[in-house]
Amino acid sequence: MEKIEKIMDREIAWRIFAHEFNMSNLFVSEGDERAPNYIITPTGVKCNRLFIIGVITEVENIGKDNNLWRARIADPTGVFTIYAGQYQPEAAIFLSELLVPSYVALVGKARKYEPEDGAVYLSVRPEEMNISDEKQRDRWVLEAAERTLERINIMEDALNSGLSGNELHEFLLTKVSNTALANGAMHAIKHYENLEKTLLEIKKALAHAIETVTIDSGIIISPQKPEEMKVQDQPEKNIDEFKTHERSFEKMKVQANPPELEPKEILASIIDELDTGKGTSFSKVLEISQKAGLDAKTVELSLKELMDEGRCYEPKIGVLRKV
């Protein structure tokens, strides 16, 4: 029977949207160096392997000897960053021959990259890649949405139960047959602050994702709500202008609550200000941002968002440039 347990331990290929994946910042490793590493997402996935079907939006050779490829795969909620190096020759060849945009399927391992400045970048290292199509992608979106929704429901139940420690663990095990998920949920509840809010945000993102597949096929998916928002709050020259912007928002009464300026927009304007053509240092950006009232964690998260949206990039470690 021991043998069977082992085989059952093949890591599940989790279905996670890029939005949730990229906002994860908890990492656990069990046992020695060779033990697998896991990323714990806000919905409690203890993720080592994942499966994605999305659209390739960029393929770039970034290695010195043509041996490291970086690609971006978009789903309706965000973008996954893919790295394939010399130990993934098949994936590297596949990427090198790919047309942008095209539908691809990918099985891979979640990886993190932590440059010294304290930022964390998540990426995926491919195990298998293949050409896919629109229908397969749509089915993936629905499956990822369903799995995510199931996880959100479990997390909400767990948060509402008011339990903690062993009692919470027992409670989770009655909800899921998968011990990895119960384990991940425990980690997530302990780690993520404002989890209720985050879960709500993820729910919104997945509702949006589902809506995109109900749009008539043949028509290129029209700019979605986040895009429209982006046009409205384009980064301006300085923060003061933003405040005017904010006021105009208030007047428009788009939302019931007075809308706050998104931290990432503040950050974008700061980078914009500092970058006079040759980029600016991360430490400088952090310093100014903190003066503007953002804490280090928010800066880190917002920076990641801006990078995911392709609004800024990091040509060298610790150096930021606007696009």
Partner: protein
Amino acid sequence: MEIEFAPHVEEIKKALDNEIEENHIIADLKKLLEYRVPLSEAKRSLIKKYGGSEKNTVRKLKDIRIGEHNIEIIGQVVEVIKKTIKIKNIEKILFSGVICDETSSRSFTAWSDFDLNPGDVISVTQAYVRNWQERPEVNFGPRSKVTKLTTKIQVPEDFELKKLAELRDGDINVHTQFTIINIEKIDINSKDGSKKILGGIVADEDTKLPITAWVLLPELAAGNAIEVKNAYVRSFRGVPTLNITESSMVSKLERKLEYSEKEGLKIGDVIIKDGAYDIVVEGNILSIRPGSGLIARCPECSRVVQKGICRVHGKVDEKNDLRIKAIIDDGTGALTLVLDSRLTLKICEITIEEAQKITQTAMSPKAVEDEIKKKIIGRRFQARGNMSKGEFGITFVAVDAWEPAGSIREQAQRLLGRIAD
């Protein structure tokens, strides 16, 4: 020095029924210890040398574990079949069957004739447990002693009605209900020559299960709804099978149990079971395992052969075949999906002849595997078949496979509704 030995010497003496002189034991033990043999190994070695045996441990069938030796069990023989096998071209007769006690039923193999008959209550010493199709099987070897007892096995009077989905390998005293979908007579070799039994498929509202009846009862006919008590469950080819014996009580039910197939099964829920019969799973193909593509089989036994040499039949005129072993995963769990040449053709549109051509053109046997990868990695499929667990992991042998046809929009609307709730 000798005082330190005393308790160990006593132990050894006891294990050898006090038939060996203490002096000999002490001398031998000293010698072994001078060789720096660990004390436990020295004791074991001495007991063996003087023909004794290590302590028997009494075990209930529920508790036996693969690899255990010197166990003693008391149980009732449920069924026995005589088998003739060939070991290195020498014919050997052995007896295999099922034995049960008040905790469980297990298969057994007796390597010599202990004159076992169904219904016998026996005590067996020096039995050992081997791995048979990933399950513990009791073995009665040359050192085993079988004693027939006159006592009865007290089966707990636990007649709780179980659904077919709840049945597990080793369950005894099973009380369940089902409708017989099909059933037929099968010839087997029993201890007293050829015998007829019944084999078929039964179902309740949500689960199908194979069934074997060791008695030819008129109630057991296709279409009948049946209630059975005191049946037992044993895995056959990795799938739990319900067994009906002479001591089972079978009665016909008035109401029919209508089977309707479960839709949207999650692989994560399927793989925690022992096995499953005739179910549908859905997921994405994430990996093609070694041994996929063009393979060669022995024409006699269908085993996969390498370089024309069969493990059993030696040099053979191998036959080409095509198959796929793939990992299918739905985000809740994964299993190995096995597709034969017919389904490989259906899914990948490659025939055996084309596969041979691809191999020849590319001058590489891996070419077919690569072609299969290109065609199905990442794609979504539904498959019908049986799930079993064995040394190669969790396997799903498909009898059919297809791309899901359900409407994406309807599914999307349904999901949006669930979010709104």
